[in-house]
């Protein structure tokens, strides 16, 4: 009996420290220039997707987004447009829902399928099962963009932040941050605006 108790205690302590570690990770995350780790996450067609599957890609527009957040919803059409424009140029959109469906029912795997169909998503829409990938990136909210470029060292982070400078009104957008960054990368130029901030819904882990 005693051994069980001790075992349980050790297990609990281990769990507690694991969570602390996870939180610290989330606060850190990637900076521009870091190499992003690959992942294997379940897509809405039930198949696993990894960055290494995209042999012909030059890089990726990784977007942490979700179903329920009004800011994410405001950008859905613009995310579809980004994929349409840049997939053929070698920068496909990879959308990842970082939210725990237990905490946010609207972000369940089944409702992700519904959303993708409704909005005509042309890109993978992956579930971060167990909420393991978003803390590595350092994503804090939806939507939150990471542009990666394939290099000899791996997928290097080139831009972190917002899609553009106006969530509310697409017609009033003055700065298309993501497009400018990818356009620069396609011309082998340095990304000028490497980091931006935007309001978003906090990730529900």
């Amino acid at each position: 009996m005693k051994t069980i108790k001790i075992f349980a205690f050790v297990l609990l302590a281990g769990l507690a420290s694991a969570f602390t570690y996870k939180n610290m990770d989330a606060a850190a995350g990637y900076k521009v220039g870091d190499i992003a780790t690959d992942f294997s996450l379940k897509n809405i067609d039930n198949k696993k997707v990894s960055l290494k599957d995209f042999k012909d890609a030059k890089g990726f527009i990784v977007i942490f987004t979700c179903n329920h957040c009004p800011y994410a919803q405001a950008y859905e059409d613009r995310i579809v447009a980004l994929d349409k424009k840049y997939k053929k140029l070698g920068y496909p959109v990879i959308a990842i829902n970082p939210n725990n469906p237990e905490k946010q029912k609207d972000d369940s795997f089944d409702l992700m399928k519904v959303k993708a169909k409704e909005k005509g998503f042309t890109f993978p829409y992956l579930l971060d099962e167990g909420q393991k990938i978003y803390p590595q990136y350092g994503a804090t909210k939806t939507p939150h963009v990471y542009i990666l470029q394939k290099t000899a060292k791996g997928n290097q982070v080139k831009y972190i932040g917002a899609i553009d400078d106006n969530y509310g009104d697409e017609k009033a957008v003055k700065e298309k941050y993501v497009e400018k960054a990818v356009d620069a990368l396609l011309k082998n130029k340095e990304v000028v605006v490497k980091e931006t901030k935007a309001i978003g819904c906090s990730i529900k882990a």
């Binding site: 405001a74 909210k141 917002a162 400078d165 935007a198």
Partner: protein, 177 residues
Amino acid sequence: MKKIIAIGIVFLLVSCKSEEKKEAISNPKPLKTYSKDGISIDSYNFLGLEPYLKKDNDTTYVVNFWATWCVPCVEELPNFEKLNAEYKDKKVKVLLVSIDFPKMAETKLLPFVKEHNLKSEVLLLNDPDANTWINKVDSTWSGAIPATIIYKGDKRRFYEKSFSFEELENEVKQFQN
């Protein structure tokens, strides 16, 4: 005696009024005022909001960024309301800065404020180019809500987290000493 009281009252009224005037001068004009069912909310761009984040007096200001659609924000609102009520006479003022979409101000925000009978002051921040102002609120803010600033004069702290009433009260007490 009656005369003295009367003069006193007049004096009080006058002094209140002049203070109101001062406040009106230092606060910029709202972009728009939304009104419905006796509830009225002013909207500002960031330039208009900024003076609310920089008042220099002996009041402790608790400024919470929230939205009606943000579940953790709505969950913690009663704690801010309780703080505003219980610390009203202890020089603490809560300001609730909504970042709801302006087009939903009349359909979502005003009915929410009425339904929840919010007593703290509510403003609507209408400034879609958040990249220009998030760092001015705090350089460590990622842009996720809920987020809160507590400040008194030059002393200020920023929190990108949810608050229980106890946590909120503990933080505010550190500003009052």
